[in-house]
Symmetry: C2
Subunit: 345 residues, 2 copies
């Protein structure tokens, strides 16, 4: 990129009429430097608008001050919330964050890890569900393991089955089970579920938990009442529309994600049904906007920012030789106005 050469430490040293070594020491404060020399160096650096070259510092053995964060999509409120926590924590630790979105392309995820490896990032954070796919897991491990062997820290949010890494895990299963209990307690017996791709562990867990919770109340969830769609607002819309086209036979719909629930809400409204009078609707995650929907959404609250902070802490804390840690983060069912007892109860 360079046109004109950058101001280097050598320029500063020359300007201050000291040796390069002294200039380095004066700027970093690693060793005592005679105060008048230090003043001269600082003044020269300031005057020349000197900025140390981080690449050279890194190469010469200085610490690497950057962490990489890889998520599916920053513009998804779920990841935005987590990112916020990560950045806050990184900021406190004086770390620089490199954030990348894979847009749910496993290839891209691998590519980004490779780039971060090249950057010698001090830590890599994988945020978001893993895919249940052997091939992908192998490819991922092939990038991650050499990185860890080289001293790199890796931490993830959500479940990765095969990776030996620290992780923060939302209690998706328990949260969904608790939600199911709450809804059956309200009197619901006929449910439909709007699911994301089953290749994602998050989806599998929430589905399993929800089913578990229903089973406790003696309610069964027919496979035909589960519609799979993309993990987005439009995915939720599409899934709900399909369900309606099939002739919705449920008093309560559970969308495995708040974002999907928003799409579902729109589809329901357009079909002339009102929530919660005609159908109850519940989501998962408690992203900030759902309390502003009409009606405000019943959901399972996950402490998103805290998830981000925790995963950052895991990655920063030194864990050489120790076995991988798992931090479980419970969700809390928040009942709002989108779910009420069904009409006939």
């Amino acid at each position: 990129m360079d046109d004109r050469p950058h101001v280097t430490l050598e320029d500063v040293a020359r300007e201050a009429q000291v040796s390069l070594a002294t200039a380095s020491r004066a700027l970093n404060g690693t060793t005592k430097v005679r105060s008048d020399l230090r003043e001269r160096v600082l003044a020269a650096a300031n005057q020349l608008a000197y900025t140390p070259n981080a690449h050279a510092q890194a190469l010469a053995g200085g610490a690497h001050r950057t962490v990489g964060v890889i998520c599916h999509d920053v513009s998804d409120p779920y990841f935005a919330g987590i990112s916020r926590g990560v950045m806050r924590a990184a900021d406190e630790a004086g770390l620089l964050v490199m954030l990348a979105s894979t847009f749910r392309d496993p290839q891209k995820e691998i590519a980004y890890i490779s780039m971060l490896r090249a950057q010698r990032a001090s830590a890599i954070l994988l945020v978001g569900s893993g895919f249940e796919d052997r091939e992908w897991e192998r490819a991922l491990a092939a990038e991650i393991e050499p990185y860890q062997r080289g001293g790199g820290q890796v931490a993830v949010v959500s479940r990765h089955r095969t990776l030996r890494v620290d992780s923060v895990q939302p209690e998706n299963r328990d949260g969904a089970a608790e939600l199911a209990r709450t809804l059956t307690a309200q009197g619901h017996r006929r449910f439909a579920v709007l699911a994301g791709p089953r290749a994602l562990t998050t989806v599998v867990d929430r589905l399993r938990g929800f089913r578990d919770g229903l089973t406790e109340a003696g309610v069964e969830l027919a496979e035909s009442h589960i519609v799979e769609a993309a993990f987005t607002r439009d995915g939720g819309y599409a899934a709900m529309s399909e369900l309606l086209a099939r002739g919705l036979d449920a008093t309560c719909v559970f969308a495995v994600t708040d974002v999907m629930a928003m799409g579902a809400l729109a589809a329901l409204r357009e079909s002339g049904r009102s929530v919660p009078e005609d159908v109850s609707l519940a989501g998962f995650d408690d992203i900030p906007v759902v309390r502003d929907l009409a009606p405000p959404l019943t959901t399972v609250a996950l402490p998103l920012e805290e998830l981000g902070e925790k995963v950052m802490e895991l990655a920063v804390r030194d864990n050489r030789g120790k076995r991988s840690r798992i931090l479980r983060m419970p969700g809390t069912v928040v009942v709002r106005e989108s779910t009420i007892p069904p009409a006939g109860s």
Copy 2:
């Protein structure tokens, strides 16, 4: 961070029994290398899980493949949308994105620029309104100018008065004026405005544009009908609450941001007023969620992702010596259900 040393190019060369130079050339494909040697090098690199050290590459004169993006808050849907565009464009250009949130702290903005400068990022993108503050502008220029002199590219979204940089500028003023015209055409005469901090150029522009539009219709906006608050959902809530406490004397409320409008909507609902029957409400930005509010929000649509893509393109395109470019992006008024003619018309 390193425990064990990393695999270096030298290791690869030794393994492949070629010189270091040959190994480098084989991996980069810069020069012809005898095919059997190239095969040996590639095999060795693969076997040793070699990843080039990006710092060394950068230092040795290779291109710098990272761009820095600085915004106020990634978790704000406005910035999330723009970030999405930036990342998409960066991805196509093979660039790595470093994303930082300042949480609206000017100090932090300066600090991040300095860090990016140290990283020798090939471009720095400033996303979000500038502050109208002399002191801050000076400090910013002191970081930006040496960076540009060193060949760094800088581009911004939104207005920065004093910086000589390429910029993408939403037509805040025109958009707000058009919105005012639309609303007066609906019959509104008494308005209130929920504004963000006046130190932000975005706020100033939208306010001015809105006022201009009203003036055209012969409507005046009393200063007392403008409430200033934080640029967030809760800021909007607080501002609206204050307005209500004062005794709202308006048939239509304009929140300078959709995010603030969401807070306002909540405050109105809690006060027992319904939108749009009792009060009309309009926002600005057209963040994705507003169409899912009840009622869907009338707003000025900005092509957020495109803003991000464009600013990235500006930063990537070479503009040495050329004067700074300005790309104006018009907004479009989208009338939804949150605004209707006032009761008495």
